[in-house]
Symmetry: C2
Subunit: 299 residues, 2 copies
């Protein structure tokens, strides 16, 4: 057994068990990969993969169990490399952030800018995705830190830090009936609604607010990002339910925002990262920066 065999098993999973593609990823020829896999299976005494002819089509029971350990080894191995690199120079490196549109646009700009000033040597990569995808990004090592509101607190191997709490707001064009007067769930439900897609940015709290009222929401547009929602609100398609901080007093002067904190439960945006992953110092400082920015928002 050696580390490149372990690495191979990981790469094989990332390539749908395709030996040729795995070879390419590992910068060696395909025959070498083929042999290494054979040697490893021979050493263990049983096949790790189900085969159809020569093709690998899945993991055996043994293979699945072994893969857990393989993942552990690979994690620990990259941890070693990261720890050492961090020890050499904790001001340099790469930070992969995965987040949703709302956070990327309305929350992250300030803390990221401050972070960049302190750590000019750290390259920041930002990926936008759905909460589900974010979690996957963490697990596959394509992201170091995820920032979002939904789902992450239901995953066991993540460390979660509460970031900030926010409320939904209603946005309507000026002179819209809902721009004045008391707002209730009943009144809201009388209009076509534009809000976030299922599984995004506090959507679950909108659901739960209406759950036991017997009212049916007429959601005519579900988008992953606030800007799309605003766009169609401006077109008069309906009323928008968006995250409070996504209303920009300056650029959204043509819209009226109204707080819904008394109607819809508050949402909590979290910071998440893998429990078994080593976070470089600068990543930890990035999180500090986020928490600082969060505090400022809350006041």
């Amino acid at each position: 057994m050696n580390l490149s065999q372990i690495e191979l098993l990981r790469v094989l999973q990332e390539t749908n068990l395709n030996l040729s593609k795995a070879a390419e990823k590992m910068h060696i020829v395909q025959s070498a990969v083929s042999r290494q896999l054979q040697l490893f299976e021979a050493e263990l005494g049983s096949p790790l993969f189900e085969r159809q002819g020569k093709k690998l089509i899945g993991l055996t029971t043994l293979g699945m169990r072994i893969m857990e350990e393989v993942a552990t080894i690979n994690r620990a191995k990259t941890n070693i490399q990261n720890i050492a690199a961090d020890y050499l120079d904790s001001n340099q490196g790469i930070l992969h952030i995965a987040t949703t549109h709302t956070q990327a646009k309305y929350f992250l700009p300030a803390p990221i800018q401050r972070f960049r000033e302190k750590y000019p040597g750290v390259s920041i990569y930002m990926v936008q995705a759905s909460p589900e995808q974010l979690i996957d990004q963490l697990h596959t090592g394509r992201a170091d830190i995820a920032i979002c509101t939904e789902k992450v607190d239901q995953v066991a191997d993540l460390v979660i830090a509460n970031c900030y709490e926010w409320h939904h707001a209603l946005v309507v064009p000026q002179h819209h009936p809902l721009s004045t007067g008391e707002i209730s769930l009943e009144r809201l439900a009388g209009f076509p609604i534009l809000t976030y897609s299922f599984g995004y940015t506090g959507r679950s709290n909108i659901e739960s607010a209406f759950k036991n009222t017997g009212l049916e929401l007429d959601i005519i547009l579900a988008a992953a990002d606030t800007d799309v929602i605003k766009t169609y609100v401006r077109l008069g398609m309906g009323v928008g339910l968006i995250a409070g901080m996504a209303y920009d007093a300056l650029t959204d002067q043509d819209l009226v925002a109204r707080d819904l904190s008394h109607l819809i439960p508050s949402s909590r945006t979290k910071i998440a990262y893998l429990k078994h992953n080593y976070l470089p110092l600068y990543s930890q400082h990035f999180i500090d920066e986020l928490l600082l920015a969060a505090k400022e928002i809350q006041c």
Copy 2:
């Protein structure tokens, strides 16, 4: 980085950072070990060991952090081997049991015999040690399963299964004053006591029983095993406080045993093993056997 370098780091810790001894353990010459360590440190970019001249005298900060990951990798590696071996033949292997004298003599014989009949292909090694040492045996991989009453439930990375509950008993020679009449803590404290060493077999519960009474115990002999205690009780040196199941109605006819469950809190014997270690099927069955034997005792 490769697995033998990782292995080397482990072996170095086991040999007090002695390169020569590590080389011997790994069945290679010392110069090879020296070079591999240099290569690894060079790859990481910083030394892992503090040096005095050429001698290794300790771990650096980096080294200590890296060692945690090294341990993880080594665990996962042996897990892979064990899982595969178990998959090939789950009736063969080695079972390292670490336990205290009392368990070894009065509880384990029955379940071990039954286990041996079912798994003749499994070699059983039993180590006797103090509870503290047992935990160390688990951590260093010299034991797979530990069975004892004290301490194990205070260690984070152990899985604990409750085995059985038992009470202390008093043993005295026949015609001893304590062989008749009501027994109280006060009366007990009037005699010289012989019992288990500190940290052994429910000793902590004896302590806690007397803690708030203001009574001072006159422990004139503390032994790790019951037989020593009985021996000196027979010599008339004092009264013995032993585990109830350690009184053998047959061979201890010359002694009188009296239940102390109303005076001393009950003790609980546990089964412990490392959280991140793979236990072969037969080990799991051995635990089942223990739990079965425990149930029989309780009735």
